[in-house]
């Protein structure tokens, strides 16, 4: 498939994760950090409640990209977490093509809450 700069690869809303999903994700990634599951620990760390895992946003980015372009085409994904995500917060996740050079397509990805707060930014590359 031919890609062009400005192409929207996907524009999806991922429903907020409840605490059971956060616990599943921690189990699935063997993450022992109680900040994702223990309310008292999260508050002691200065947050109002437990935090959604940053790698869950990375996983959303990678999964949606793989669904769109094919997992075997993924080359790299570089994610910066910019704001915490709390339980039940929906995320709007977008990916837009920023460059097509040779056989490599580069895109910019963002995850944002419904109030517009950007929680993660990323750049990814995949084989055209």
């Amino acid at each position: 498939m031919a890609y062009r700069e400005g192409d929207i690869l996907f524009d999806a809303t991922v429903p907020g994760a409840d605490r059971a999903r956060l616990a599943d994700f921690s189990s699935g990634t063997e993450d022992p950090n109680p900040i994702h599951t223990d309310e008292a620990f999260a508050k002691a760390a200065g947050f109002p409640t437990v935090l959604q895992q940053g790698p869950m946003t990375t996983a959303h980015f990678a999964r949606l990209l793989a669904e769109r372009v094919g997992q075997e085409r993924l080359r790299w994904l570089d994610v910066t977490f910019t704001a915490p995500v709390f339980p039940e917060e929906d995320l709007k996740i977008e990916a837009v093509v920023t460059a097509v050079e040779g056989d490599t397509v580069t895109c910019a990805l963002t995850a944002a809450k419904s109030d517009g707060t950007v929680t993660a930014k990323a750049e990814a590359g995949f084989a055209a």
Binding site: P15, A17, F25, P32, N33, A62
Partner: protein, 132 residues
Amino acid sequence: MNPDRQGHVFPPFTVRPEKALAEKLLRGQGAAVDLETVPPTYMIFLRGETRGANLFGELGIDRKRALHGGQRYEWYGPVAWDEELTVTATVEKITEKQGRSGKIWFADVALDYARADGTRVLREITRLIERE
């Protein structure tokens, strides 16, 4: 954070993708449980914690003051369910900055995943932050 751990290379450990863990990872995302392929971010530094590469412990990071700054994945080849990979984790860089309410440390740790024949299939970089 212990800045003197920059350059530290952890003893290699092995990891083999497990469908039961992948199912939880996908359920956690709220995604369909499709186990045809190993999910692209199945491999993650956290799996080293019980396999001899405890980043938080080695770097002296207090989880209550820790933040996850970001991640990078570089995919070089497919990973199969029955494939055991050898993982080498290296503390590539530790930097210190002065924030508004104290010092902040940043650590970049790279994990290289290789097949038995030495072929690298994945590189993961995780960026850990600790507030003073």
